[in-house]
Subunit: 215 residues, 2 copies
């Protein structure tokens, strides 16, 4: 697989701010994500505007699609998304409908891992031809000031071994990257860490670590 | 509890069409829902426009909130929603964050029941003070041409007994209403059945059945 990429999550509540952030960071990120907050704030106009502004970036639309998959996925791909997210809680028929639409557009589906998912569920996603999932650090751990737990890392390895490339998120800092060695990591996602004043510095530090552990 | 109400789900992919449908049906529905498709198509402008057009209706914003709950819920309530939906797959901390915001606005949270939820989960929602959930007919059943199953009805009774008032959806027709007698039903939700030519007739037939079984 390719080396893990850097992804910025845009969760501004208005498009003007999101456009500005994307313009500031685009030279040091590979993937631009219309976060769920931005997508609900501004609608598909957020996707199409960012597609126009950044024609060569991978563009993600983070809808966490739970139902109405055929229509939601088509809307996002038509607006210019390359990848869309689908909730792990969606019925398998919904996930399948999204995958069919993705195939029409040469796009990809990423499963947003939330709720009481099982490895049987994960095998079902893989059997549909889905090759990506998004793994969030345990929120309890984050709130308790605990880093990535063994439970997280074991689940991530198991998903990776099934063939899922993971986008990894949850307060990612360069010092964390080594934890994920050996796991198929598609992207590392950050928001404020990349958008702020030290964004470029952070991106470069992430890339140094990525180069160390994936080569 | 009050009698079950009639709710229209607006899942148009553009606001112009949604506005027209809402204007046509508003006299015979109690609740207007900005469906997830419309919310992602047009953003919060859909919520604020329908709030302006229909100041006296209950307005639902169906985001199926999975993460970022504090921000998403605030956005929707500020735009004029009375009720917002939160995914059963969301972390309990997310659900709690949404409930806190709802309380600020005298709004309500409805849990969208998807994925591998358990009765323990349901008890946790109730313990947060959540009193509403949305129950969808089993999709497999619907595709197989099977009506509401005993499995559906038993789960619905169990949720109702915990204290959750259910919004019920999935090809609802007047002939189905009797199946739900004894269950706490907050609303019956329909889309095309209420929006089409025979919408008013359908709404009236639903109300006749509602009056028979809830009084």
């Amino acid at each position: 697989m390719t080396k893990p990429m850097i992804q910025i999550a845009l969760d501004q509540t208005n498009l003007t701010d999101a456009i500005a952030v994307a313009s500031n960071v685009h030279s040091y990120v590979d993937v631009i994500e219309v976060g769920t907050i931005l997508a609900f704030a501004e609608g598909m106009n957020a996707v199409s505007t960012l597609r126009t502004n950044h024609p060569d970036h991978i563009l993600v639309c983070d809808m966490k699609t739970t139902d109405g998959g055929a229509i939601l996925s088509r809307m996002a791909f038509e607006a210019g998304a390359d990848w869309i997210t689908v909730s792990a809680a969606a019925h398998i028929a919904t996930i399948e409908a999204c995958k069919k639409v993705a195939d029409e557009f040469n796009g990809e589906i990423q499963i947003e891992i939330y709720g009481n998912w099982t490895m049987e569920d994960a095998k079902a996603w893989v059997s549909l031809g889905i090759s990506q999932a998004i793994y969030h650090r345990s929120r309890d751990a984050e709130l308790a000031g605990v880093g990535w737990t063994d439970a997280d890392l074991n689940k991530m390895r198991a998903l990776s071994d099934l063939g899922l490339e993971l986008s990894i998120t949850g307060g990612i800092v360069p010092e964390d990257i080594c934890l994920f060695e050996g796991i198929k990591a598609k992207t590392f996602i950050a928001g404020r860490a990349l958008a702020g004043e030290r964004g470029q510095e952070t991106a470069e530090a992430l890339k140094v670590q990525i180069d160390r552990y994936w080569n």
